[in-house]
Symmetry: C2
Subunit: 222 residues, 2 copies
């Protein structure tokens, strides 16, 4: 049960449903740019290679947003989904590890578009510390616990080498951060109340490799 009244989970929402909400959001943004007032589940499904029934089921978990015979109001639905995903606000994000991947993420437009603002960087390289990277201050990773604790940062992106990732995440957790996106190819240990997600970019390449070698026919595209 949820005291805020924001959303009461009658049923458990599956992870895939949430991921598809991201897709709907993206499609609806595009539909808005194209000046569409309404969209049917059929059209939405087509744009993201899903089925109309799937779209309707997913949305129905959160309410009835459509009009029978007409479809869904584009802008309204987009805003509803943003609220469900929690991206109707902005999130302050710290990025740890201004290396190869890290510095690419600093300029990643999709993050900002969705309200994720990288406001602080951490690194252990003395040449980077104290300087500005694309307008964002780079702090010493040794002070990460203190600096995060004092900040209002709620989300951390880890882009450090696998060898040090566990040490870094321990500090991040101690600083009270509850949500972490990890790019290091390693399984990190965190307490149960921490949301930790892993982004593993070679996984998809490996899937492609598997598919080619085995003539695999996938059920869906992802």
């Amino acid at each position: 049960m949820d005291q805020t009244g924001e959303m009461v989970n009658k049923k458990r929402i599956s992870e895939s449903t949430i991921h598809r909400l991201s897709l709907y959001f993206r499609a609806l943004s595009q539909l808005e740019r194209e000046n569409n007032e309404t969209v049917s589940s059929k059209e939405l499904a087509k744009r993201e290679k899903l089925t109309p029934a799937q779209v309707r089921k997913d949305l129905s978990f959160f309410g009835s947003f459509g009009t029978r015979g007409l479809g869904y109001p584009v802008v309204e639905l987009k805003n509803k989904i943003a609220a469900i995903l929690g991206i109707d606000r902005s999130w302050k994000v710290a990025l740890v590890g201004v290396g190869n991947i890290g510095s690419a993420l600093v300029g990643y437009k999709e993050f900002t578009k969705q309200g994720f603002q990288i406001v602080k960087l951490f690194d252990n390289d003395q040449r980077k510390i104290g300087s500005n990277h694309k307008g964002i201050e780079v702090s010493d990773i040794d002070n990460i616990k203190e600096e995060l604790t004092e900040s209002d940062i709620e989300l951390v992106i880890l882009a450090v080498p696998a060898a040090v990732a566990q040490f870094v995440i321990d500090d991040v957790v101690r600083a009270g951060v509850k949500a972490i996106l990890n790019f290091a190819p390693i399984n990190l240990k965190v307490p149960d109340d921490i949301y930790l997600r892993n982004e593993n970019m070679s996984m998809e390449l490996e899937y492609l490799s598997f598919a080619m070698v085995n003539n695999h026919t996938p059920r869906k595209v992802r």
Copy 2:
């Protein structure tokens, strides 16, 4: 049915199973470095936050690699999985779009470790074309169809802006490439016989945002 005899699919292998093979491979590499001769499904599961039954089921789709009472031979299993995933060889990869994300991927160690070699870059920026980027030649994106056709590149990573991604992928497909990993946040159209995977890095951030706002308790970590 598969004429190569490499592997006959008795049952359809699920996508999640394949993704988990990547995890097993990673864990086994680590176990090998730690000089473990054998590993049980229990230990393997623990390392990747899965269940022992899941590990055994996954592996059983491809054969019986273990010894009852003992476990699985680490190095042997690692090699078997590499063969299944098709990463017991090297793949020549072209990367299109040497921007923010693209240039980060050029130096991404995980790719090389798994046998994915980026051997060619493409961009439309005249300042980059002809130059070398981390030792790899940058070609004009206008010649992509010809250059890919003449090459032995089998895999393409797309890291171009969403606005041009469809045009670029059309050329890539015309060049005969069958497997593409797309980083642009857009749904691309390709013929049925092309393997296309999408990497959407903000999806996981959005999931974290959703989880925090809704106190979502996930079934698993991914």
